[in-house]
Symmetry: C2
Subunit: 325 residues, 2 copies
């Protein structure tokens, strides 16, 4: 998908290069320990989807406000900070193909590095001159942390609450995508209705993205993903494929799924669970939902004039449900 | 010191009551797990020194801008969030006389609750209509996290670098006090020179506060402090009394101090260390430094017109070095 994304990002390729320089500049430190941490964090560059969406949204709304780079940097830093804290919570060892901060420096440093990136993000966005932008980003960060707390509480107790699943991923993942798109539009001077439509696009797209992500944890290739698969199940996280499978499962299958989720797991038992979820229609249900949401996201873009940035956003709406990493 | 503080806070007592309501409102949640966490965090109210300084600074500069409450809430939330994350790092069980979030709900939830309070703080301050206020708070948060990373790296390796100690507590503690005072002045419409003087007051006061705090860890009464003493030493943290004692120590005493810091510690050995630091002049050196800084802080207030808020700030400059909790 790398080269596909490169093509989709083409309208904002120069901005994404400027973004990398901005992040290095914002996080520069004369302390060798801090600069080593920053190098590590920035070296494992992800897909940059949040900044790309912010920049494409700004471009699609006709804006060339230079503050779009600060927005792009902010959403990437908030995302990376939350990943670093998530990796503590999940005790994850590998992220984007490299050791996590907690694996390499311990949980204590990882807590602080996440805080440092959060604070740097808010510093960047607080200097943007648009009264609605920083509040929208802060609100997304509030929704993210609230949803993560709800997810942490859900913890290992199996449940089949599809509404709760959507509430959690809406906050955990989609809120920041939504804010990125809304703020891109706002910085481009878009009218209120357009900014709302872009926020809708980002939210629906983000939910589809997370459903796909959760399905990839069951079906994906660890080599392409840069992280182990099956980790959600190993952590007892109940994702949409599981919830949907449980809804349709006859009694014995239901007991088997619940038993597999609660018992100790090895590669063999995870493969067995995946096959069972597939047979019970859980994976299909999840991917159908992702496709439906991607369609709603694409429809929200009707407010935009045609052009290369809008074309890229439409391609992203297609790609969100077929990605393999 | 409780009643002393009540008297000092008198000019802003009504604001501090409104602050408690504002924090409850900002952190309200329909999720019972989140509201339980919030109740716990808000129930263990601290000394509210940061919001009190922000409010007294605003009042001393003649301002009645209602946004001062958002500022007060922000600095308290940033502080509480950093305490919650510090308690993870220090594996602390008790804070303000009640169990820490990590002790009661585990490190994972504590990471997220800290993030939630940080995000809520930035949401509050991002809605304040003054272009320099949110950036000043974000900068303080950046300095805090950078200093905490430096402190974490210093870790257990003994060192005698007084400049590094001041750099760390300047970022970890004084930066937020400084921003609280600066922003209080800015919201009151104070001219640049006055805001700078208030920032100077807050910074020097904050350094004096932290030195006293570090000394109290050696000499304080656990009952009054609401937390165990000796925890810095147990964690191998090198504070000013230790640094100063090492500078003056003859070889054998020096070896004893270093050995005590690195070896296993019980109450008896901590008492012995405290006596040794006292005899070597380390505690005296630290308290002398705190007194000197409190004097510089008080002098910065010369720019202010006389009045009850200025009088309270001057009293705080006296109290910072004689407090017992």
């Amino acid at each position: 998908m790398g080269s596909d994304l490169d093509q989709i990002y083409a309208p904002v390729a120069a901005d994404l290069e400027a973004l990398a320089r901005l992040l290095r500049r914002e996080l520069a430190s004369s302390d060798p320990f801090i600069s080593g941490l920053v190098d590590h964090v920035l070296s494992a560059q992800g897909k940059l989807i949040r900044p790309a969406l912010a920049l494409l949204s700004a471009s699609a709304c006709g804006g060339a406000d230079e503050q779009r780079l600060a927005l792009a940097g902010t959403v990437e830093l908030v995302h990376v900070a939350s990943l670093i804290h998530d990796d503590i919570i999940d005790a994850a060892d590998l992220r984007r193909g490299v050791p996590t901060v907690n694996a390499r420096w311990g949980n204590q440093v990882a807590v602080l590095v996440g805080d440092y990136l959060f604070a740097t993000a808010f510093g960047l966005i607080s200097r943007v001159r648009h009264s609605q932008v920083a509040p929208a980003i802060a609100e997304a960060a509030v929704l993210m942390s609230r949803a993560e707390i709800m997810a942490a509480e859900t913890g290992n107790r199996p449940h089949e609450d599809e509404a709760r699943y959507y509430a959690i991923i809406g906050g955990k993942t989609a809120a920041l995508f939504s804010a990125a798109c809304r703020c891109g539009a706002l910085l481009a001077g878009a009218p209120r209705a357009t900014a709302d439509a872009m926020a809708e696009f980002g939210f629906r797209w983000g939910v589809a993205f997370q459903i796909t992500d959760d399905a990839l944890d069951l079906t994906g290739d660890p080599g392409l993903l840069g992280k182990p698969t099956g980790s959600d199940i190993a952590a007892g996280k109940i994702t949409l494929p599981v919830i949907a499978a449980l809804q349709n499962a006859p009694g014995p299958d239901r007991d088997r799924v619940l038993g597999m989720l609660q018992g100790p797991q090895d590669v063999g038992s995870r493969d067995e669970l995946r096959e069972l979820l597939d047979r019970l229609g859980g994976l299909r249900h999840a991917m159908d939902a992702a496709h439906r949401l991607a369609g709603i996201a694409a429809a929200a873009l009707d407010v935009l004039p045609d052009g290369p940035a809008k074309a890229s956003l439409l391609l992203l709406a297609d790609f969100v449900v077929v990605r393999t990493r």
